[in-house]
Amino acid sequence: MDYDAELMLRVKDGDGASFGVLLEKHRSSVVHFLYRMVQNHPVAEELAQEVFLRVYRSRSTYEPTAKFTTWLFRIATHLALNALRDGKNERLQEHLDDDSSDMPVRQISDSRPSVEQFMVYQARLDEVRRAVATLPEKQRAAVLMHKYEEMEYSQIARVLNCSESAVKSLLFRAYETLRARLAHMA
């Protein structure tokens, strides 16, 4: 059994501190995954809150049948896909067209090269975000879990509730699309 599952079993036994440990450990990865899925920071945080709330609510019925992160990302993916289907993706489109106000704040010095570098960085970043946003939802989720969470095919398969070969196929098609759109950035 993985350590996270042990922590979750302690939460089940009424140990609130263990929930705090799990939150501390997985907060960033869940928020970042959701942010890259819906590409809207406030929506991503709202969804992440719901993820951890569901984890807490389910503590009494929790059984460590799978890796804790598999269960966690299954909840997160489910919520993200629902949010995208419920029309929050319209907000996403608006967001992609705005001035990217929720981008990481970067210090810009007064010197001209830094401003240029920043502009180039923003342009590249926008291109990457748009390329990812054009992927079908499941492909997007698979790529994000594969690239940023470094999950194995088997784990992604369990999160997406499909076979390992289906995950390989999803990833192959997704990276093919991304290569076509982003290869020039090398």
Binding site: Y35, Q49, Y121, V128, H146, A186
Partner: protein
């Protein structure tokens, strides 16, 4: 395998074999360079930092939920702790019985035959009453031939 190689998930031995192959295979070389470009581009996409009050907001929601549930369940807690299963079974039984009794099909259709009977009997009764009135009138006419109402 190429995908695993580009995502640096291949073991050193397989990596070495694949790199030898890539040197002589233009198709694989093109795939690998394209994939590495994608990988590099995705690396540049930093996620925004999580809000400082994320935990506070989450614990507030949890507290709100817990206190709401506590308030609701407080009167039943001693009972639930001791006799949770029998109580749940009894509640389920009561609800089940209620649902069955509330179903329109479960109520015997008593009203329909009653109204049908009333519809059939009422004209007989009226006819009978009219006949009795007619007999009374005849009797009255025979007893008091002068005072009998000509209109009747």
């Amino acid at each position: 395998m190429l995908l695993a190689y580009c995502s640096r998930k291949l073991d050193p031995e397989s990596t070495a074999i694949l790199e030898d192959h890539i040197r002589i295979c233009p198709a694989c070389r093109e795939f690998a360079s394209g994939q590495q470009a994608v990988w590099k581009a995705l690396d540049a996409w930093e996620a925004t930092p999580v809000s400082a009050d994320f935990d506070r907001r989450l614990y507030q929601r949890i507290d709100r939920e817990v206190s709401w549930w506590d308030l609701l369940m407080r009167p039943f807690r001693p009972l639930l702790l001791r006799q949770g299963l029998p109580i749940a079974a009894a509640v389920a039984l009561v609800i089940g019985a209620g649902v069955l009794l509330e179903r329109p099909g479960a109520v015997p259709p008593a009203s329909a035959p009653v109204s049908a009977q009333v519809d059939v009997v009422a004209p007989d009764q009226a006819e009978h009453a009219l006949q009795e009135m007619e007999m009374m009138r005849e009797f009255n006419r025979l007893v008091h031939p002068d005072t009998a109402d000509p209109k009747m």
